[in-house]
């Protein structure tokens, strides 16, 4: 199961994979499979501080620095991934 998950991650785009890893680190109770573009971090149970942690860790891993105001456009995990991708 875990193996399948990792292999699927290997095929996946690196931004989504990084978000999934950050969510797993911040919210160990969340099923990594539920981290999909259509869901929001809040729906997954992330509070305001958890969300900042997820985003900061993901930016760290990807080596990007997105200015804070730019996150105003983020509606869900999909739009977060798009924003980060533009700064890669």
């Amino acid at each position: 199961m875990v193996f399948d998950e990792e292999r699927r991650g290997g095929d996946e785009d690196p931004v989504m994979a990084a978000i999934r890893r950050s969510v797993a680190a911040v919210m160990p109770d969340v099923d990594p499979g539920s981290v999909t573009p259509g869901r929001s971090l809040a729906e997954l149970g992330c509070n305001s501080v958890d969300r900042v942690d997820v985003v900061a860790m993901t930016m760290d891993e990807l080596g990007v620095a997105v200015p804070v105001p730019a996150f105003a456009e983020v509606r869900d995990i999909g739009t977060l991934a798009e924003l980060l991708r533009r700064h890669l």
Partner: protein, 423 residues
Amino acid sequence: MTPTRGGGVAVTGMGIVCAIGHGVPAFARALREGRSGVARVPGDAPWLCAPAGEVSLQSALAAGAGLPAALLERARRAAFRSPRTIHAALQAALEGWAAARLHQAPLPAERVALVVAGHNLTTGYLHRVAERRVHAPAHLPGRLALHAQDTDHVGTLGQALEIRGEGCTVGGASASGNVAIVTAARMVEAGAADACLVVGAMADPSPLEREGFLALGAMAADDGREDPRRVCRPFDAGHRGFVPGEAAACLVLESPRSARRRGAAVLARVSGYTLALDGGGLAEPSEEGEARAMAGALERAGVDPRRVDYVSTHGTSSPLGDATELRALRRVLGPALGAPWVNATKELTGHCLHAAGVVEAVATVVQIGQGFVHPNPNLARPIDPEFRFVGPAARPAAIGAALSSSFGFGGFNASVVLAAPGH
């Protein structure tokens, strides 16, 4: 209000994590052996410290083994992403909570209070975040705004243990631990809480602050050769500054009535205390201020200076501080100066800064309970041989009344009297 003999506040639980022991039983063994935890910390600029070793969320939760699973899960969620210093505080607090049997014979959450001893507790953490940010500009932990504040200790421990009474941090430089004990004792005496957790927070000074201590000549510099365990030698002619130590420690203070109602064992009593400022803001200690704190604490406890059995000194291994403290102690004890046993726990634990008063209160209660006084193996040539210093080996001792003092930069003097339960 002057507490009468037999009054005061009960100590019903303790916890500790420090260089010479994780947990009270291990700490007690190390005290008896006179084991030093001081080591040389490697790096670009090696320095001396008594490090607490492996401290993590896992070690903290392990210290609470035996507590209900739901409480430990709460603690895990509260401290999941916390810095190591918070994990250390949690470790000491969970041990103290379990020892006081606050899970088996609980109090209403609103009747439990929390006082955390210490200030400037996050400078090491902030330094590391800043350093990392130089290389990864996006790096900013989501919890930074919380973790940057000393009160994160209060918030996280309060969440972990579901404490709903009063809570705060209190500061008094190196006297913070005793200032916190006094603050908590007053809360309980005033009826604001039935029990109050006092948590001495682990110091995590930034490299800049360590340099400041060195520049002031207060901290012992590492010559790179000396056996680290021999450097901290309070009251010895070879003393040359304090050696920092890492520790978090916890005392559960409780009203005697609440302890009786819960059937909690009373380990000792805080039977008197005095806080006194020097009216001077520098690093210099004041003989007059120290004597005033010690004498005041004894008076409030109703303990005649001739009846003090044990003095747990501030004794940091600073030449000026050690000499000043012994002169103050001479004033207080008068002709009885050779009567009580005298030792310095910092030789073994290092100077645990804000937590020191709580660490030494735990050490004192251990010695009261187990009937011994711990040795100071480095004290070979006492600067004042008229005192009854414990020699190189532990001695059996029946301690009825003990005086424990902490003094801090800025003129903070804080003394507490700890008494055996039946004394």
